[in-house]
């Protein structure tokens, strides 16, 4: 298979993204957890580009573009919500 190295590279990139999940678990603040969503926006686009190379399918590049756009909207929505609703994960 011609595209197999790209699949392996995509798998490695996905593995580093899974490392970012630890930060969402550890916290401690909501901004820290949200950074994992930022990581997934950037890294997810990277994974989709690599898979687009592997399968020689340019539709996957379109998906990467949409994912990059939506992850930006998610983080912007989060910060608006955080500004209006006070501080902390739980009131304590």
């Amino acid at each position: 298979m011609m595209g197999q190295p790209y699949v392996l590279l995509a798998a490695y990139l996905l593995l580093t993204l899974m490392g970012g999940v630890l930060r969402a678990v550890w916290g401690p603040t909501r901004a820290d957890r949200m950074q994992t969503a930022q990581l997934f926006g950037t890294g997810g686009s990277g994974v989709l580009i690599l898979l687009g190379l592997a399968f020689e399918d340019t539709a996957l590049f379109d998906i990467a573009l949409v994912l990059a756009l939506l992850s930006a909207v998610v983080v912007i929505t989060f910060t608006r919500n955080m500004w209006s609703s006070g501080s902390g994960d739980e009131p304590s």
Partner: protein, 103 residues
């Protein structure tokens, strides 16, 4: 293996090194702001190298431009969201953890 595909693999491997650095920084750095710094800089450079590695394997100009567009969009979006998250974290520190006491 042609020189173009070798260069493509080299660029993508460099990009993955930067992605790894971004994740390690996200896990190891001490507070919100330094973690934001690691995430938004290292990962964007990694994605840029990955995009240019991918461009070398494409034949059509429109697909190349689309890949560059993805990178530019991510650059613009992460510069904006980095500022917004840092501002939100500065205004609303979660004081019970005592980690980000900038406000």
């Amino acid at each position: 293996m042609s020189i173009l595909s070798a260069l493509s693999y080299l660029l993508i491997a460099c990009g993955l090194v930067f992605f790894t650095a971004g994740t390690v920084g996200l896990l190891r750095f001490p507070d919100v702001f330094s973690r934001l710094h690691a995430l938004t800089k290292a990962d964007n450079l990694g994605l840029g190298l990955l995009v240019f590695g991918a461009i070398l394997r494409q034949g059509e100009l429109t697909v190349m431009l689309k890949l560059v567009l993805i990178w530019l969009l991510v650059l613009f979006a992460s510069a904006t969201t980095c500022y917004l998250v840092a501002e939100a974290a500065r205004r609303h520190p979660d004081v019970k953890e005592g980690r980000n006491d900038a406000a």
